[in-house]
């Protein structure tokens, strides 16, 4: 068994008086594709945002790549941010830069590579993410939703991260596009030996991509494990969520 790369322990989150998470704990192992599942408004994205330092939580602890959130030096934070990358739900490409510049910018900021090499790497990642070459110099506003996601995936991969976070990667794509994107993620994760954390409620993704997952239900972790283990579970919420026969 691989060691844990992300450990969330007893995290409680409140927005004002509204409790989102009540002492939840999960662990993600190195090299696996892990899913955070749950209905709308169950706080899946909030949990993801807490792991990637975008959201504060009230109590508990989160450890990523051996660093404890809240007790890191500035250098640690930068190191961590270079070693993970995030694919946001709507791509979040920088609107003032074209696709190639969007993908190049982490390399420009963080490495001293010659410009030609940066372009070469960026073009290669774009190809890996399956973006047509005609789109290389377009601006984000000129791209369709699927193309935006592919360009954003290329940007997320460009620094060769150890962990890749995906926030609803298949939402807003047509079924065929979503399926292709799933295959792409699985392929890239295997080839680059990435640990992937996916927030999703897409059944196809759950069945074909995820190694393990957790289900957030009623502020708690209802289940954590593989799909086969989940199938043995009798809780109606799990069966309903995974569309298993009752």
């Amino acid at each position: 068994m691989n060691k844990d790369i992300i450990e969330v322990k007893e995290v409680t989150t409140k927005f004002g008086k509204h409790v989102v998470h009540d002492k939840i704990s999960i662990s993600v192992r190195e090299g696996e594709i892990y899913g955070i599942l749950g209905g709308s408004g169950s706080g899946k994205t909030t949990l993801l945002r807490e792991i990637i330092l975008l959201q504060k939580f009230q109590s508990g602890s989160i450890e990523v790549l051996g660093k404890k959130i809240g007790q890191m030096s500035h250098a640690d934070i930068i190191w961590l941010k270079k070693n993970w990358s995030v694919l946001f739900q709507f791509g979040a490409l920088y609107s003032s830069l074209n696709v190639l510049e969007n993908v190049s910018i982490p390399l420009i900021e963080y490495t001293n590579l010659p410009k030609e090499v940066i372009t070469e790497i960026a073009l290669s990642k774009l190809k890996m993410a399956g973006l047509k070459k005609e789109a290389t110099y377009l601006f984000p506003s000129e791209l369709s939703g699927g193309m935006k996601k592919r360009a954003a995936l290329a940007r997320a991969l460009v620094m060769d991260p150890k962990i890749l976070f995906l926030d609803e990667p298949t939402s807003g794509l047509d079924p065929v596009g979503a399926e292709n994107f799933d295959i792409l993620i699985k392929e890239i994760a295997t080839l680059l030996k990435l640990t992937v954390v996916i927030v999703t409620h897409d059944l196809h993704t759950i069945e074909h991509v995820l190694d393990r997952f957790c289900i957030i239900y009623d502020k708690k972790i209802l289940f954590e494990g593989t799909l086969n283990e989940a199938k043995k579970f009798k809780h109606y919420a799990i069966r309903e969520f995974l569309k298993l026969e009752q």
């Binding site: 609107s95 390399l107 490495t111 001293n112 590579l113 010659p114 030609e116 090499v117 372009t119 070469e120 790497i121 073009l123 290669s124 990642k125 774009l126 190809k127 890996m128 070459k133 005609e134 290389t136 110099y137 506003s141 060769d160 080839l191 680059l192």
Partner: protein, 374 residues
């Protein structure tokens, strides 16, 4: 660290790579790679036995190097490579995309300004036509409403009077007070030189009533309400609320535009009158502190010198300012399309337009009235 040894003769080249080939180390050996890439050999041997670490960037460099030799019909031999690295290199090779294959749209230095000028002209014409149709539709809906007055959105109008009128009171008060103070200050010094202290009253009150207060109020409201109208309607367009209204048979003009226009038509004169009073108060305070004119003296003098027409001219302009601001704000809101970015763009345009047309209208009225001798 990295070693990149090249041994070459006319036909053969052998490259020995050892150490770490990663993003951090590529820069130091890149000149060597570039130089060797230019040349042609019959056989190229790449000895990677000493390679201890290879990331995607490094793999890509090697893949690119071997691909460029293959293109020149050299036979490339890669020896001693760790199977993991080899897999990585093959993966990189598969995903290689040369810059030359990608067509970049280059801008022509001389043609670009012309193309941009042409585009701008066409855009302006389009925008003007759209404005005419917007104006036409607004008038049409206005006359329809006149026939069926119970369909007018009274409640929404009241809300907008509160939002763009009543809630603007503090900022209008502050600006017009300060402008009153500034005008009084600047003129006090000059008037004192002539011993014409009392004329500060004429100066401040006539200019305030007739020109300054309406203009200041209009500019503040243009900045405040034109922008919010554009942003509100623009957001509704992007979230398809406007389309939802149309699909239910609700006219967006009746629901969104007319209430805003009427709100400003009603609120503007009130705001202007308020600004008049506060601005003159600012002047009064300076008149007392700098020129020793007491408040009762100021007010009595003002009653004598300010003709009713001065007040009325200022108030007469106010509803037109309101009409201009609301129409421009709403119109630009309806121009928003596609991305959230365009909300920002049109909000800026709307504020600039609104202030510009307020000043143009004020200048026109000023010239016309002076020519008519009023």
């Amino acid at each position: 660290m990295i070693d990149f040894d090249i041994q070459e003769d006319d036909k053969q080249c052998s490259i020995k790579i050892s150490g770490e080939l990663t993003k951090e180390t590529i820069r130091s050996i890149y000149p060597k790679i570039k130089r060797i890439k230019e040349k042609t050999f019959l056989i190229v041997k790449m000895d990677c036995a000493g390679l201890t670490s290879l990331d995607y960037a490094g793999a890509l460099i090697l893949a690119d190097l071997s691909a460029s030799f293959c293109e020149k019909k050299s036979s490339v031999l890669v020896i001693g490579m760790n199977p993991n690295f080899k897999r990585m290199m093959l993966f990189a090779r598969k995903n290689l995309r040369q810059k030359s294959q990608v067509v970049e749209i280059k801008e022509n230095f001389f043609a670009t300004p012309l193309i941009k000028l042409g585009k701008n002209i066409i855009d302006s014409i389009d925008s003007f036509i759209f404005f005419l149709s917007f104006l036409g539709e607004s008038c049409l809906q206005f006359f329809r409403i006149l026939l069926t007055p119970w369909k007018f959105r009274y409640k929404a109008t009241a809300v907008h009077i509160q939002k763009s009128g009543a809630l603007a009171i503090p900022i209008v008060a502050l600006t017009s007070f300060l402008v009153g103070v500034v005008i009084a200050y600047q003129s006090a010094e000059q008037l004192a030189k002539f011993g014409a202290n009392i004329f500060i009253v004429d100066m401040v009150s006539i200019s305030m009533f007739r020109e300054i207060a309406p203009l200041i109020a209009a500019i503040v409201i243009a900045g405040r309400s034109a922008s919010s109208y554009t942003a509100e309607i623009g957001t509704m367009k992007i979230t398809e609320e406007v389309d939802a209204m149309r699909s239910m048979g609700f006219e967006p003009i009746v629901f969104l535009v007319l209430p805003r226009i009427f709100a400003l038509l009603i609120a503007m004169p009130l705001i202007v009158f308020f600004a008049d009073i506060i601005g003159i108060m600012g002047g009064m305070i300076v008149a007392k502190s700098n020129l020793g004119i007491s408040y009762p003296e100021f007010i009595l003098r003002a009653r004598d010198v300010v003709a009713t027409k001065q007040v009325l001219i200022g108030l007469f302009k106010a509803p037109f300012f309101g009409l201009l601001i609301a129409t421009i704000g709403c119109f630009r809101g309806f121009q928003v399309t596609g991305s959230t970015e365009s909300i920002g763009r049109y909000t800026t345009i709307s504020v600039v337009n609104a202030i510009f047309w307020v000043i143009v209208f004020d200048a026109l009225v000023s010239v016309v009235l002076t020519e008519m001798g009023i």
